[in-house]
Point group: C2
Chain length 470, copies 2
């Protein structure tokens, strides 16, 4: 059942995922169960994702800052739903500097509490609003069923926290982040189609009044929550006493948002685009967009390979030279395929004597013989195609596995292999409970045309997207 | 004794430091004693430092990765000196997911142990060497006398960890990092002169065979250790069983290095360049190199200010517009001075009517009236001067406060207000003990001409730089 080095996706998707993550040297298990090491290939993808997200976050006006990892345990209890949601997952520091601490400290599972304790200090007047802050950080959640890159006991993410003078402004900002930062990065950089909508009360972030989400469909038809943006109302503002004096000098509580995406996105790229030969990376997220492989050591081959690397690099592509000729060509070729490098250029003495090289397009597994002088042009043309073609393929897959249904039973059946779209009127709160008994859930609510709900929409008039989630 | 908003450096340097860090909105205290919040102005400096360091680290061939925060307590004990050095400073997680853990977990104070446990798995053959890894991360050390940005219970840093086939190669790499990454960033980006040398056995990193260091002199004459690069010999390789088979197939232990710089560098910039009016930033580390201030709201002023911001931005400068005219001009001007923005351009209706604006050079506190059409050229010219002039000033200060001495007594006297340089032959191990009773220490050892020691140098032939350190 294996093609090349790994099991096929159809035979065993979870094992396929593990084998790709391990084989492509993306991540490894840490010594503490459930913790994760992100290896250079995985981290290189994360760095490119970070740059894409960070640029858009700054364009949305937020500034980066950094807040402490350790939070007094008592802070968590200040917002009732928040503590209920997070307390089963906490890691707790009880000793510091060889002594038992007076108050235990929680390792942040998310930073609403600590950040808002500072917002209360920094925000005085309407002139201090909006306050738009983002941080890049690690967080710890004691997950029971850890899985590399998808659900680990520690992960990396960005978390945005903002304070506004009105509910409407907070809502508009939460949606701006969802659209202009998250959806845009997922579609344009990761070439992953995602549905946007909001969560039901059951699936909402602990402490939020509304959670907006980006939901992707993975290669096995299951749903992955890829990023969320929350309206927090005045819940934390009241818990932490965050008030500002308005233009008339009256004290008012701020309205807030928080939003985050994590290293889980790396897992989404694996499961959203991978095939039976491994990872397939969109060029925007490929630590190497092109690898030039020397088939064997040879003076002419080395000269041509180095010239090509320099030429492609000067055109702005991320290129690597693979001159590890002590390892067999076949083995190296399979390894780069597994790592998902979009284009491989293979140079051997025989082809070179005829002025040719072989260019391999990873996502199509298509080999072509190309005249040496045309390689730069050919590679650029391929790289322009990869992202849109991966996107189209993933979108067609999702559309093919999404069914519009009218009853709970039909929804359950359809959601076993993909998404079911069902009017909330036909589902109701009871239907949501029954989905849960099948390990299914409402991934998001949308208007029937797929657009986001507006404040005036009744939930009964919305459509639920039902799926089995990671 | 205060000029503007803050106390003068001469009156009370520690208070001056606190007031600059708070007043420039660089950092704040976290709710847990000794923890720190890095605010956007401080974090903006850190982002620029990170970019400078990261580019050089990658040029040195290291790749970024990420390793777990939580380390089994037993790992720390595997290297004897390492555990002795770090155990008084550890924060310990004893509970996770609501249960007491079977083995307590240490929050990483540094990552030699966890990273080397993975190196042991990844390294098999000489083909896997050198392995050059860097991570950007937070670490926790339970400091007893915390101080914002200089010594906090959590800080951000990068830590590099490498494995090599020979001692000579490891040594060369540790020195390459010291010179091409650390010294280069400190001099070229931070405009801070630093001495390089190695530590005595007493001051060495716990577990290292040799620690190389960059030492700066702060505005009060005290020394700040700004970055270290360690040769680890085979200490961790033996503790964690990191072996490779050489070309003949024989198993050998690897030779290793580790190296780090932290957010302490932000504190170094404050104390190395600040004056009685606040921070003075070298342009390479200024989140805003230029701020254009509208003195008051006025159509012509706004048009001119916005055009100037666009023009300076298109020349590649980081520029901000300050149009917060509801706040008095004087107050805003003092605030930007405190934040250390290298150039301020002040635009008011009266000057503008004559086609003029005021350009203020922060590090010299020099105001000049400039014709509007010449502002772009003038600002560029000033920005080119700032870095070299700050460097020259800091270097002259250090040279003026450094004395060459011949006896321990002279060294103690000189080190009370700066650095003393003394032959190790005249100091010896006993002299080093006596310095410690005065809270003084050997900051680094150098050859008498200031260059780095070579393996063949006897310690007695070297010169000790003695100072009082942060």
């Amino acid at each position: 059942m294996t093609k090349g080095a790994i099991v096929s996706r159809d035979a065993d998707f979870p094992r396929w995922y593990q084998e790709v993550v391990a084989g492509a040297e993306m991540a490894d298990n840490g010594p503490v169960r459930g913790t994760m090491v992100i290896r250079p290939w995985g981290y290189g993808i994360w760095e490119l994702l970070q740059a894409e997200l960070d640029r858009r976050i700054k364009e949305a006006g937020a500034e980066n800052a950094y807040f402490p990892l350790l939070i007094p345990e008592s802070f968590l209890s200040l917002e009732a739903e928040h503590v209920e949601g997070f307390s089963p997952e906490l890691a707790v520091v009880t000793h510091g500097g060889g002594k038992k601490l007076e108050e235990p400290l929680v390792v942040r599972p998310t930073s609403e509490t600590v950040i808002n304790s500072l917002f209360a200090k920094w925000i005085q007047s309407y002139r201090d609003l909006p306050l738009l802050i983002n941080q890049w950080a690690n967080v710890v959640r004691w997950e029971l069923r850890p899985r590399l890159l998808l659900r680990s006991r520690e992960f990396l993410w960005q978390e945005g926290h903002t304070a506004h003078a009105s509910e409407a402004e907070a809502r508009a900002y939460a949606l701006q982040i969802l659209r202009d930062v998250y959806h845009s990065t997922m579609v344009e950089a990761a070439s992953l189609p995602v549905l946007t909508g909001h969560k039901t009360a059951r699936e909402r972030f602990a402490g939020a009044t509304r959670t907006w989400t980006c939901e992707g469909m993975m290669g096995d038809g299951k749903a992955l929550q890829m990023g969320t943006s929350h309206e927090l109302g005045q819940n934390f503002a009241k818990a932490f006493g965050i008030t500002y004096s308005n233009a008339e000098g009256t004290a008012e509580h701020v309205w807030q948002t928080s939003w985050g995406v994590s290293t889980r996105l790396i897992g989404a790229v694996v499961m959203g685009h991978g095939d039976d030969y491994g990872l397939r990376l969109p060029p925007a997220l490929a630590p190497a967009e092109v690898v030039v492989l020397m088939i064997k050591e040879d003076e002419g081959v080395r000269t041509a390979a180095e010239a090509l690397v320099a030429d492609l690099g000067s055109q702005g592509h991320r290129v690597r030279l693979d001159d590890r000729v002590e390892t067999s060509f076949g083995r190296r070729s399979v390894a780069w395929e597994l790592k998902g490098v979009p284009v491989r250029v293979e140079i051997g003495p025989r082809d070179l004597a005829e002025g040719h090289v072989t260019v391999v397009t990873r996502h199509l597994r298509e080999k072509r013989t190309v005249v040496l002088s045309a390689v730069g042009h050919e590679v650029t043309a391929i790289l322009e195609r990869v992202g849109p073609e991966l996107y189209a393929e993933a979108e067609a897959m999702r559309e093919g596995r999404t069914a519009d249904v009218g009853t709970l039973e039909e929804a359950i059946e359809a959601a076993n292999s993909g998404f079911a779209r069902i009017p909330m009127r036909a589902l109701g709160a009871e239907g949501e409970d029954r989905l849960a008994t099948q390990a299914l859930s409402i991934r998001c609510l949308q208007r029937p045309d797929g657009s986001l709900a507006e404040p005036e929409d009744a939930e009964a008039d919305l459509t639920a997207v039902v799926g089995r989630s990671y």
